[in-house]
């Protein structure tokens, strides 16, 4: 290994360890790591500012920013609360029915919107509904995070790793619906039944006050119905364009940013307030990781990894793919799945350049990164959100509880996905 390769590896893995330890905010770590990578690259002549800029995937950032702006405009309208209250009324206070309905709503929303925002907004209303009915909110909060993690894997825009993979592999919105949705759907159903079994005791408790939930009026939760309607129309238009973006030779980021532009002109929100709700730190985190991985690539580290993996080419491709699902899932359970995905993209690309059939590997990466996050409290941002929220209540979600209820969901979804992946391998 050359000196640039050693230093680039130390910077990247050092940053991953700091991110894992949570001693420093992940975006600060990534900015510092990215800057260090460029400085070391300049000194040792393996990386430059221009190469760092080229390494940033602006298609991913544009798609994320566009969708973030749409969600930030929809959030204050009360639309999410409206849906949760509708679900509560439809359940007539029956815990199992409420559990399934809230799970479905959270999943569908997180298939099209940022699932962190979805969970952030749905979780407090879930707590409200559970408290007035008189049942424990823990099963509901945990399942919302777990089911939204699972469901988000189904679409191009449902999960950040999918945005990255779609952009790198050139997969369209429809490709995800054809290859990912069926596997995710069955894995999701498996996860739901498993959760219903794991929380059987809590969900079998009789609610103390069903009447209160029937007195909730969904219409009263909508603060700005007109604005909500306008944004939903724009969002529906964007989803229609996502279906045909490949045929029109238009990037998903252009669709998302155009939709955000139309919504901005139509709704004319307070920009200062809107920009406060955009997760800039996430965008900076992504950009910095791209810069770091660009450094790894320029230093020849990823080439060496590709070389090592090529030597393993005697392994049957199907076993290679299933192995990738589990390795990525295990890594995603303990480290953020975004850096894992960004680091593996050039590796898979390299394997493709060496003649390996890589389309199945892209899907393996998506399933592993998406389902792996359910395994631990820190595996996915949605998990951290519900755990943090529960810590502000009388019944916090502990790591022990997550290991008992979340880890089985990760194992089940990865197992179902692996079996279906093997069956459908030839179609990828």
């Amino acid at each position: 290994m050359t000196l640039p390769a050693i230093l680039a590896t130390v910077i990247f893995f050092g940053s991953l360890i700091i991110i894992f330890s949570e001693k420093l905010h992940r975006s600060i770590t990534a900015i510092a790591g990215g800057a260090l990578m460029v400085i070391v690259g300049r000194v040792l002549h393996f990386y430059s500012e221009e190469a760092a800029l080229d390494a940033i995937d602006f298609n991913t950032l544009g798609l994320l920013l566009g969708m973030m702006m749409l969600v930030a405009m929809l959030e204050p309208t009360g639309f999410f609360q409206y849906l949760a209250v509708l679900a509560a009324r439809a359940s007539r206070g029956k815990p199992v029915r409420l559990f399934v309905l809230l799970g479905i709503i959270t999943t569908i929303l997180s298939m099209f919107l940022d699932n962190v925002t979805t969970v952030v907004i749905i979780a407090p209303v879930t707590l409200l509904i559970c408290e007035i009915i008189g049942i424990s909110a823990l099963p509901f909060l945990m399942s919302e995070a777990l089911l939204s993690n699972t469901g988000g894997v189904a679409t191009l825009i449902g999960d950040p790793p999918n945005v990255l993979i779609g952009s790198a592999a050139g997969f369209s919105f429809t490709d995800f619906l054809i290859h990912s949705l069926p596997i995710v759907l069955l894995s999701w159903v498996g996860a739901l039944f498993l959760l219903l079994h794991l929380f059987k005791k809590e969900l079998s408790k009789r609610p103390r006050s069903v009447k209160a939930v029937m007195r909730l009026n969904p219409a009263e939760t909508l603060n700005e119905p007109l604005v909500a309607r306008r944004i939903l129309i724009v969002l529906a238009g964007a989803i229609l364009f996502f279906f045909v973006h490949h045929a029109l030779h238009v990037s998903p980021s252009l669709v998302a940013l155009s939709a955000a532009a139309v919504a901005l002109v139509w709704v004319r929100p307070n920009l200062d307030e809107l920009f406060k709700r955009i997760e800039w730190s996430v965008l900076i985190f992504f950009a910095s990781l791209f810069v770091m991985v660009g450094g790894l690539e320029s230093a020849g580290v990823l080439e060496s990894v590709v070389g090592l993996l090529e030597r393993a080419s005697s392994v049957p491709p199907l076993v290679f793919g299933v192995g990738l699902i589990w390795i990525v899932a295990a890594l995603s359970a303990v480290v953020d799945n975004v850096p894992i995905t960004i680091a593996l993209i050039p590796v898979i690309r390299g394997l493709g350049a060496s003649g390996m059939e890589v389309d199945p590997l892209w899907w393996a990466l998506a399933f592993g990164a998406g389902f792996g996050g359910s395994g631990t409290i820190i595996g996915a941002t949605a998990n951290i959100i519900v755990v943090t929220l529960s810590e502000r209540t009388r019944h916090p979600i502990t790591s022990k509880l997550w290991n008992k209820r979340g880890l089985p969901v990760m194992l089940a979804t990865c197992s179902i996905a692996s079996i279906l992946y093997a069956i459908l391998y030839s179609t990828f």
Binding site: L128, E131, G134, P207, S209, K211, R215, N217, R392, R394
Partner: protein, 151 residues
């Protein structure tokens, strides 16, 4: 004028060894909103307010959902009571640090401190730190406004 001129000199307090249940009983019997917690030597070590006690019963969603206007019926929450285990905990687990002024403190300074710390009642201590009175916003406000009659 100083705060000692308008404070209530008869102060109801509880010892630091009391439980939350004891504090609630005193607040109910004396119909008061704030209860100083004192050491054996009479020095205040904390305060426990009616709001602190009610927080034990308030549902979690109240602090997490921005707007609860649409919830017309709090349902099961209305009949929820803190557990016996919670009520038997020491007042130390719920009390807040005491904010007090000395007896010669000016009225406006005392009032400003109450505004700053969002207090309805201010503890008044002697030079050696012993609790000697409690002055409410009304006590201080009335004392200040009464001086306007002379101008």
């Amino acid at each position: 004028m100083t705060v000692s001129s308008c404070m209530k000199k008869h102060v109801v307090s509880i010892p630091v060894t009391a439980t939350i249940r004891d504090a609630a009983a005193v607040i109910v019997n004396k119909h008061i909103g704030l209860l100083p917690v004192v050491e054996k030597n009479g020095k205040p070590v904390g305060v426990i307010g009616i709001r602190d006690l009610l927080t034990l019963e308030l549902p979690d969603f109240v602090s997490l959902v921005a707007d609860v206007d649409f919830v017309h019926d709090f349902g099961a929450v209305e009949t929820t009571r803190p557990s016996a285990r919670t009520l038997d905990k020491s007042v130390k687990s719920l009390m807040k640090p005491p904010i007090a002024v000395e007896e010669d403190c000016g009225l406006l300074r005392a009032y400003a401190l109450m505004l700053q710390h969002n207090l309805h009642d201010m503890l008044v201590v002697s030079k050696d730190g012993k609790l000697i009175g409690v002055a409410s916003r009304v006590d201080i406000g009335v004392a200040v406004l009464s001086s306007w009659e002379k101008t």
